[in-house]
């Protein structure tokens, strides 16, 4: 048996011998590391979920013509009024977006206008259907998404005018008229319920506003400071337009998350400290119990360094076992918490495994610093006499 193997053999034997003490220490260490793991995993998963929710909410940037004076309110997506007659140049916007790849591909062009329907004026929105479909996944459509010759109609309007999917609408504008077939009714609970959605090109033709837009909504992957920077960059590229961040309702959940995370951090700190203290106490009493054994080992000729190494190895091994167990338990707890509280599955984050082991080892070592010093100083004669 080589020296190294013998060393580990002795360490493991010694740990296995003191079953109760070892179990207690492992439990405490596992508790601490499981707490850290589970809090970390929960907080990460929640962050991701919130980010997803923000994403579900829709666009976070909007470009409108400068003179339009639109309100971009906190209440959602009330982008300006129909009567305003300032427009964006579609080509210019496209060029600007090409230079700012951070804006991503999730965006939709809008041209808001008014058309005559059976003698009345209705508000219409010219959109590119595939774009809006990607941008607004939460839209509930009764019927199907239309192609370029179709239209979507808001649920309020449909109810008032008793329009069903399959009906043909005859719309006329200043530059021409058109007949479109309604393929679906959209209900969002918002402004869209009172609009008719048409194909952008068709509406541009009908309004005589070729290449003009009223708004561009963008769902950028960025958040916070990055989003602000992106907006600034786009603003620089677009002279006659305003680039604004849509203040999200979800932002509140972001700040709530921050608070919850802080709370978790505090709890973790308290529990880790408590665990550290309990590890220290257990270790100290174990060293007291083992005084005779340490004295014997020293009397047999072990140098102080060798004894210290033996005891440090015990602590580290306990730490590793505790860390591994703690990661498993912590992951299970995180699964439970996210499932019951947030109704979502926790992420599997292997990066927390080393973190859990390091926390546990650190606690074990810090907790046993005092006892280790005692071991180092112990006088063999006295301890053998049983003092």
């Amino acid at each position: 048996m080589s020296r190294r193997r013998w060393f580990f053999h002795v360490v493991i034997r010694s740990l296995a011998h003191r079953k109760g003490g070892t179990l207690l220490l492992v439990t405490v260490l596992a508790m601490a590391s499981s707490l850290v793991t589970s809090l970390g995993i929960v907080s990460f998963s929640m962050e991701k979920k919130v980010a997803e929710e923000i994403r579900r909410y829709g666009a976070n940037l909007v470009i409108v013509a400068d003179s339009a004076g639109v309100e971009v309110g906190s209440g959602g997506m009330n982008f300006g009024r129909v009567a305003e007659s300032a427009y964006l140049d579609q080509g210019q916007v496209q060029r600007a977006l090409l230079q700012e790849p951070a804006a991503g591909r999730d965006l939709s062009f809008h041209l808001r206008g008014a058309l005559k329907l059976w003698g009345d004026t209705v508000a219409v929105d010219g959109v590119v259907f595939p774009q809006i479909r990607r941008l607004s996944p939460w839209w509930r459509i009764q019927g199907t998404w239309p192609d370029a010759n179709g239209a979507l109609i808001g649920s309020d309007l449909a109810l008032r005018r008793s329009i069903k999917p399959g009906d043909a609408l005859s719309l006329s504008g200043p530059a021409g008229g058109m007949v479109v077939r309604v393929t679906g009714i959209v209900s969002t609970g918002g402004e869209a319920d009172r609009l008719v959605f048409l194909d952008l090109l068709a509406l541009q033709k009908a309004l005589g506003l070729q290449g003009q837009l009223t708004a561009v909504k963008i769902l950028a992957a960025a958040t916070g400071e990055d989003l602000r920077r992106l907006a600034g960059n786009l603003q620089k590229l677009l002279g006659g337009a305003q680039v604004k961040e849509v203040r999200q309702v979800a932002a509140t959940s972001e700040s709530l998350l921050k608070k919850v995370q802080l709370l978790m951090l505090l709890v973790a700190a308290v529990v880790v400290t408590a665990c550290g203290a309990s590890v220290a106490a257990t270790m100290s009493s174990s060293v007291l119990e083992r005084g005779r054994e340490i004295g014997l080992i020293k009397a047999m000729g072990a140098s102080r360094r060798a004894v210290l190494l033996l005891f440090t190895a015990e602590s580290v091994l306990l730490g590793i076992i505790g860390g591994v167990a703690g990661y498993g338990a912590g992951y299970a707890i995180a699964l439970l918490v996210t499932k019951t509280v947030f109704a979502t599955a926790a992420e599997f984050l292997p990066a927390f495994f080393p973190a859990a082991v390091v926390v546990s080892c650190f606690l074990a070592l810090v907790g046993s610093t005092g006892p280790l010093i005692a071991v180092y100083r112990l006088d063999p004669v006295r301890s053998l006499r049983g003092e």
């Binding site: 013998w6 011998h17 080992i297 009397a299 072990a302 140098s303 102080r304």
Partner: protein
Amino acid sequence: MPVESGTCIIETAGLTKRYGDICALAPLDLQVSEGEWLTVMGHSGSGKSTLLNLLGGLDRPTAGRLLVGGEDLLAFSEDHLARFRREAVGIIFQQHHLIPYLTALENVMMAQYFHSVPDQAEARQALERVGLGKRLANRPGELSGGEQQRVCIARAIINSPKLLLGDELTGNLDHKSTRLVMELLKELHEEEHFTLVLVTHNQEVAGWGGRTLFMDDGKLVKDLRHERKGDDPS
């Protein structure tokens, strides 16, 4: 340096040990030659255990000179002293003092480990030599007092020390076990040629050695050379 230092393994001059005001060992001059079997007798508190601890490098004297194997233990650092303990001396204690979570074999190997490298075959041989060939895998708790003491002896001699120290090694044993242990020691002493210093208050044990020191109150009272018991007269 005395002329006979070549064969002298222990040499003390004015060796003193004090614990605060209490004088555990009064200035002591002692010479023990190599291969000798020395017994130290005296009732408890007479300083005989203190002497043993000093000889074994477990404790440091307050004053005086202490040469073991020609080396001055006073000049040793803490780590050097530890090396002296693992290489030059073997100590057998009264209360057996085995590591409870290791088997008999592993207890012997532990001494090898601190000395150099563990060697299972050699440790097994040593245990077979003290008559424990069948109890290698037993923990100390499963061994009788005599057996435990024999494990201790195997452990003490495993690193071939020049000096073997025994502190009341038969204190907890009955008459029969005592006799067995003493016979074993005698056999080993003849084979391995180590110097043996036994501390005891048992008159019978003292009879096995060739020289007995009587101590009282930390002072050497009598130094007696005599016939050895067990040297078969027939």
